[in-house]
């Protein structure tokens, strides 16, 4: 089992699937500046996925694969993204909060990956750059969490509803399996309880400051890492992969 390959593909899948969701906002944002911001976020995630998939192809024992193979020619059960990424966008509160919760997770995970000691390997450097660029996104989504949390009664209520819906999906961040544990053992992934502690500290402080209580529901999502998805994933892939499925083996 090539755990590094599996781990990299998971990170790529997270980025691609969330990028796909964010790109649905193009031209439909609440005002022009946000159209730009959403397009930019979507582009960053897709760009990240491309590089991770390209790296994965270089270490895949099956030769001849590339970024488009992983994106367009795998079936649902082969995608191992976290379920939170595939959820439909909902309203702006849902979209912003999802990005905020996920970006904090990303920064911690990629920071660990950037410290992974693998000389003359591209992955740690790529991870470091992802951390750097993620800081822009995090600053933006944090600001929006503050604006919507402390803006009006309506915006606060929408944030509350969004948090209730999203919280159970964040539990999946800490649902480690053999691949994660293998990556922890080589110093490329944060240890599970440290990740939970750091993430919770960062996120809960902001939520508290904007008067959002942590939900009480004990429901937890799981299965994403094993290719088990919500009912939304099939439709997302049907749309994303349509041309390559309809016209296989062509150049575009």
């Amino acid at each position: 089992m090539n755990h590094l390959l599996k781990y990299t593909l998971r990170l790529g899948d997270n980025a691609l699937i969330l990028g796909q969701r964010m790109s649905e906002w193009c031209g439909h944002g609440p005002f022009l500046e946000e159209d730009i911001a959403m397009a930019n976020s979507a582009l960053d995630y897709v760009g990240r996925a491309r590089l991770l998939y390209t790296y994965a192809a270089s270490i895949d024992s099956v030769k001849g694969r590339d970024e488009d193979f992983y994106a367009f020619r795998r079936d649902e059960a082969e995608f191992e993204n976290l379920q939170i990424c595939e959820l439909p966008n909902g309203d702006y509160a849902f979209t912003i909060l999802r990005q905020f919760l996920f970006d904090h997770y990303c920064v911690l995970v990629y920071r660990a990956l950037s410290r992974f000691d693998k000389p003359s390997d591209q992955l740690p450097g790529l991870a470091a750059k992802i951390v750097k660029e993620s800081s822009f996104h995090l600053a933006r989504s944090t600001k929006w969490v503050q604006r919507l949390g402390l803006g009006t009664i309506e915006s606060n209520l929408r944030m509350k509803r969004a948090l209730e819906e999203l919280w159970g999906y964040t539990r999946e961040f800490f649902d480690y399996d053999e691949t994660d544990r293998s990556m922890v053992s080589i110093g490329a992934c944060p240890e599970k309880e440290k990740l939970r502690f750091d993430w919770s500290n960062l996120v809960e402080k902001v939520l508290f400051d904007v008067s959002l209580k942590l939900p009480e529901s004990k429901w937890e999502a799981n299965g994403g890492r094993q290719g088990v998805h919500t009912e939304h994933m099939g439709k997302l892939l049907a749309e994303m992969q349509v041309l390559q499925r309809r016209y296989p083996s062509l150049s575009w």
Binding site: C26, P30, A39, A71, S251
Partner: protein
Amino acid sequence: MVKNMEKIGQFERKIAEEEKIEPKDWMPDKYRSSLIRQISQHAHSEVVGQLPEGNWITRAPTLRRKATLLAKVQDEAGHGLYLYSAAETLNTSREEMWDALLDGSAKYASIFNYPTPTWADVGAIGWLVDGAAIVNQISLCRTSFGPYARAMERICREESFHQRQGFEIMQTLAKGSEEQREMAQDALNRWWWPTLMMFGPHDAHSMHSQQSMKWKIKRQSNDELRQQFIDQTVEQADHIGLTIPDEKLKWNEERGHYDFGEIDWGEFERVLMGHGPCNQSRLQARQKAHEKGAWVREALSVYTAKEKRGDFKIMEREAVNE
């Protein structure tokens, strides 16, 4: 009265001597309103233009194409922002301009009222529509209003890359499978004539052209620009093996230009008057986004006011004291 004559004299001298008119300069009211109309229309076009292309982002056939299309749509939105900002220096506001777009009283480029049913349409828009926009915008780089001229220089540089990307999509399809070639040819057939209409009516029938030319807002006539576009594009189509859908298209040695068939001005009028295939859906999409986003804008406005008042500093101090 005398002072006004002096101001008019100064303004006209600047125009004659190709000096730029800047936002703080005196300008006739009609010059100002013409510019507001033209610049805001241009901005609206960039913004509405996100929709036909945005239609294919989620279905782009490769990750590279998906990323390129996302970047293009972001770029266009950025151009819109820049142009709205330039228009605002003429004493109008974003709210006014946006309201005019949403209530249908302001126009945007009619070309975006056509649908994008296939992937090849994305290529056609980049190649033809951006190509036509560039021809128009190069001419506008010499427009008399400084901020608009400088915006055009900037936008032209960036749109050249978009045009190249669109052309590459068409080129790839044209040398692909039979289905891909047909897809590309079909898109060219549907976008060619509407693109030619982008340059507006024949000069003799153009309502605003005369005054715009006098004030050097407009630098070349509709027909001149249209001819330039046709001449450059026919050769590009030949190069990739696609056929322009015009039986009357023929090189005229004497004129040094291509002769071409007559545009269906009835279709142009119909789309301009709101009866094109996507007029309703484009406007409704922006209206819906605006309505759905009202609570977001309100939250932002209320939060910003609270921040200015220092409400959050009080909260921080109270938290520390606790």
